[in-house]
């Protein structure tokens, strides 16, 4: 603001320099953070050049020869990539449909809860798994669902056949959604509870006097009251469609279920670190994903702006 004004007005160069000098301590506070961001966030962006080059470790990123869009052309013709892209989209869309509503239900139920002490205990249990890494959670789930584990013991006791839940292409995606709800729905519900707490209590009082029952109050007051929150969170998740949950898939996955669960992120990892790597190609796959994600983000930001009046970010 100062800056644009400074460029036009005569004699304002002095004033601009003056403003810079007055803010010297502010710049000092910014300096370490900006430097680290330039190195560790923008540094790798320079490495994106690799997506258009034939990487030669001896020559380095800059001197490796350009090959234009060759990696991208190869990408589109690679069946493994096509399958990873398809899995990513299927899993992400299913998450939007299956996983997204659960925290809303939890939030509403917790919001309606009258026993404050029980509520606090429940909330602690619900939110706890969010703070564990997927390695820990997978460690627990893998032994819990193992053919010798508790779940199959219960099935056996009920006279059912044992099922290998983890290595079953039919159930594995379902397992992803279920375990993701198990781990994260409680934490996500907090944001809805906050929104519910912000609804004017007088609305409820008035509804009670009008004779509205519980369900009608939820339908006509609570849900409309948290609609903006729901919209924002839905749009945000929709903008992350290319991220199908690397941490979870990577740690729960095994060779049997790979065909139904290999997503773009695990695919990039696999071709880079578990095979003879082609850094240029791997980078191209990553870039393909990032660009789509970024474009989706711009679109979703527009959508939120249209619905709620102001954008999420800028």
């Amino acid at each position: 603001m100062n800056m644009t004004a400074g460029a036009v007005l005569p004699g304002s160069r002095r004033r601009f320099m003056r403003a810079v000098w007055d803010s010297r301590y502010i710049y000092l506070l910014l300096l370490p953070g900006i430097v680290s961001i330039l190195i560790f966030s923008y540094g790798p962006m320079y490495g994106l050049l690799l997506a258009f080059k034939k990487f030669n470790a001896g020559l380095g990123i800059l001197s490796s020869p350009w090959i234009g869009m060759a990696h991208f052309r190869r990408l589109l013709g690679t069946p493994d990539f096509a399958s990873a892209l398809r899995n990513t989209l299927i899993i992400s869309f299913s998450r939007l449909i299956i996983e997204f509503p659960i925290p809303i239900v939890l939030g509403v139920l917790l919001g309606e809860m009258k026993f404050q002490k029980t509520k606090r205990v429940l909330q602690t249990v619900f939110t706890f798994p969010h703070f564990l890494s997927w390695i820990i959670v997978s460690g627990i789930l893998i032994s819990f669902l193992d053919s010798n584990g508790p779940v199959n013991a219960i099935l056996a006791a009920l006279g059912r056949d044992k099922i290998n839940i983890l290595a079953n292409t039919k159930t594995f995606r379902g397992l992803l959604y279920a375990t993701s709800i198990w781990k994260g729905a409680g934490w996500s519900s907090i944001i809805y509870m906050t929104a519910i707490a912000g609804i004017d209590p007088q609305l409820y009082e008035a509804a009670v006097i009008d004779g509205a029952g519980r369900l009608r109050r939820i339908w006509h007051i609570t849900l409309p009251g948290i609609k903006p929150t729901i919209v924002v969170l839905f749009v945000l998740s929709a903008g992350r469609i290319m991220n199908a949950g690397f941490d979870q898939v990577f740690n729960l996955q095994n060779a049997v279920v790979r065909p139904v669960s290999e997503i773009i992120d695990t695919y990039v990892y696999r071709i880079t670190f578990e095979a003879v790597p082609d850094f240029g190609f791997s980078t191209a796959v990553g870039l393909f994903k990032s660009v789509i994600n970024f474009a989706l983000l711009l679109v979703t930001n527009r959508l939120v702006k249209a619905v709620n009046g102001s954008g999420l970010f800028v």
Binding site: G6, Y25, F40, F126, P129, F131, F294
Partner: protein, 296 residues
């Protein structure tokens, strides 16, 4: 008056909805709780007992053998040490950068504020991706260095933005008063503003500490040498038994004696600090969401 509203199906009477809601929530809580409870039990009973009855409700044949074996593994100890180093340094480094930047961006206007802010914001939504980062770390000679795990995680833009809005809510008069007494921006920041934001600082310190404790992907990628593994990487190598990223020595050590009990004991050892502290710190974590939600 108040009494009558209560009687007429007011908001404080217990009805069928409360019962059903309560049952649903408690069931969900049990489904979350039981696998953890079962994991702890599995780790303290004999493997014979576990095979006999994996779905236990209380422990029988209690033994600490699994833990004895786990703690005989030097990697667990070095893993704990490395993780504590990364958490301690990571919190100071990450928090320091994030808070300083948040305060700077909360100031009214200074030349270059908007472009610099956009520079930071952009990194939230676009990145170089895995391979360029890997090559960068490699070129910097940071492969196999715990330092890499600390340095990469400087400013957390999301926390920065929330902290920034916290600073913006402090009345301007405080800053002006301090300025009249001759304080410069850094003195005002350290002496006036930081003490007013202690609750928020505590919250985000906890978030960053948990983030570093749980980091597993970059450590798995960058740390090749067993005794420099962080706890999560050690755990991963134990759960997925003797994969290529484990030292040959330690995999040979475990090859024959690995059982579910030992794996689960390793899991419990890794989540122990979070399990112990979480119930007491929960309200601070929740506060982080609350301020974040207001921002939204």
């Amino acid at each position: 008056m108040i009494l009558t509203t209560k009687k007429q199906g007011g908001r404080n009477r217990i009805d069928a909805f409360d019962i059903v809601g309560c049952v649903v929530l408690i069931l969900f809580a049990l489904i979350i709780f039981y696998p953890f409870y079962n994991a702890v039990l599995t780790s303290i009973v004999t493997s014979k007992q576990y095979i006999l009855n994996p779905a236990m409700l209380y422990p029988r044949d209690v033994t600490l053998d699994n833990y004895r074996l786990i703690f005989e593994n030097p990697l667990i100890w070095s893993g704990y040490k490395n993780t504590l180093i990364v958490v301690a340094c990571g919190v100071v480094y990450g928090m320091g950068m994030t808070v300083c930047m948040a305060y700077a961006f909360s100031r009214k206007s200074f030349p270059g504020k908007r472009p610099l802010f956009l520079l930071v914001l952009f990194t939230m939504f676009f990145g170089g991706g895995l391979i360029p980062l890997y090559l960068l770390i490699k070129n910097m000679g940071l492969i196999n260095e715990l330092g890499a795990l600390i340095l990469i995680n400087g400013v957390v833009p999301y926390y920065m933005i929330i902290l920034k809005s916290g600073f913006e809510q402090i009345p301007e008069s405080l800053e002006e008063a301090a300025r009249i007494e001759g304080a410069n921006d850094i003195v005002i920041f350290a002496r006036v503003m930081l003490p007013l934001q202690m609750a928020m600082l505590a919250t985000f310190t906890l978030f960053i500490a948990v983030d570093r404790w749980n980091d597993w992907f970059l450590p798995m990628l960058f740390i090749k040498e067993g005794r420099k593994f962080t706890l999560q990487v050690v755990l991963r190598s134990i759960i997925y038994e003797a994969t290529s990223d484990v030292d040959a020595a330690s995999s040979a050590y475990y090859e024959n004696i690995f059982s579910d009990g030992i794996k689960i004991a390793a899991v419990v050892v890794t989540m122990l600090p979070i399990m112990c502290f979480y119930p007491f710190l929960q309200k601070h974590f929740v506060k982080g969401v609350l301020v974040g939600a207001v921002k939204m």
